[in-house]
């Protein structure tokens, strides 16, 4: 089973967010801080997500929405959850135009996978293997 298709229980995801960001008691004006623990191979991805807090609305000049602090913290938590499960880091991390955060993998065999963090603790996955129809599922898986 490809590592990206491993189960992602909500409790694991919530725990990672709690440990990394302390979202249970956010202070007013709280900024998304760089988590203390190194994310290993996922560290560049985490750094990128932290940088997204500086995006404002209309960051593309055509009305794109900036991701919320809660969404960014959730995305960082999912990054750590994947890392804990041995999933390799994404090849690209980008903000979506509607305030989401997208992890993208482009494998040498042509397989394309993306995880779109749509809202806190909810992500949509699309995986397309060459010659096969797209597969879709959501996270958490249980």
């Amino acid at each position: 089973m490809p590592m990206l298709q491993c189960p992602i229980p909500k409790e694991d995801w919530v725990r990672e967010v709690g440990e990394r960001n302390g979202v249970s008691a956010p202070a007013a004006g709280h900024r998304v801080e760089k988590p203390v623990a190194d994310a290993g191979p996922w560290e560049p991805a985490v750094q990128k997500i932290v940088q997204f807090q500086h995006l404002g609305d209309d960051w593309d000049g055509f009305g794109a929405k900036a991701p919320s602090r809660e969404l960014l913290e959730s995305a960082i938590g999912l990054a750590y959850t994947f890392s804990q499960k041995g999933v390799g880091p994404p090849h690209r991390v980008v903000p979506g135009v509607d305030g989401s955060v997208i992890f993208e993998w482009q494998n040498p065999d042509g397989t394309y996978t993306e995880v779109e963090n749509v809202r806190p603790f909810y992500a949509e996955v699309m995986r397309i293997e060459p010659g096969k129809p797209a597969q879709h599922w959501t996270l958490p898986t249980e």
Binding site: Q106, A134, H136
Partner: protein, 139 residues
């Protein structure tokens, strides 16, 4: 050609690509999010007809500070049709010449069938990756 004329299969259109959605190091440099409609795209996704505008003119109504970093990709209307997409003229008074839209990719249509459209957007990203006609820093 008049910008109100129907868009022919033999035409090409330009699409603006924000630098966030371009990474030359990847097999598919353009990210599919470059084709995702936002809440302002009520009638469809904006493109510009290549027969009526130069690539850089697709950036004409954008803040110059942001426009200088944009890429522009060229897409064959024939290829769009193969993906089940249509292109219709939608001139913008005072805007860059040749504005058109892909009405199938309006915000409401995308929201109604996200799974279906995500895979189509990836195909658009592949097409765009193969024909970048304007890069940041070029006039």
């Amino acid at each position: 050609m008049d910008e109100t004329d129907p868009v022919e299969d033999s035409e090409f259109v330009y699409r603006r690509i924000h630098p966030t959605f371009f990474d030359a190091a990847l097999p598919i440099p353009v990210q599919r999010e470059a084709f995702r409609p936002n809440q302002n795209d009520t009638t469809g996704l904006s493109v510009f007809r290549a027969g009526l505008a130069k690539p850089a003119e697709a950036l004409a109504n954008l803040d110059p500070a942001k426009a200088k970093d944009y890429y522009v990709a060229r897409l064959a209307v024939r290829d769009l049709r193969k993906l089940g997409l249509t292109v219709g003229p939608e001139p913008v008074p005072g805007g860059p010449l040749g504005h058109a839209v892909i009405p199938d990719l309006s915000w409401p249509a995308y929201q109604a069938q996200k799974q279906h459209w995500k895979a189509i957007l990836l195909e658009l990203a592949k097409l765009a990756s193969a024909d970048i006609v304007h890069r940041p820093g070029t006039p």
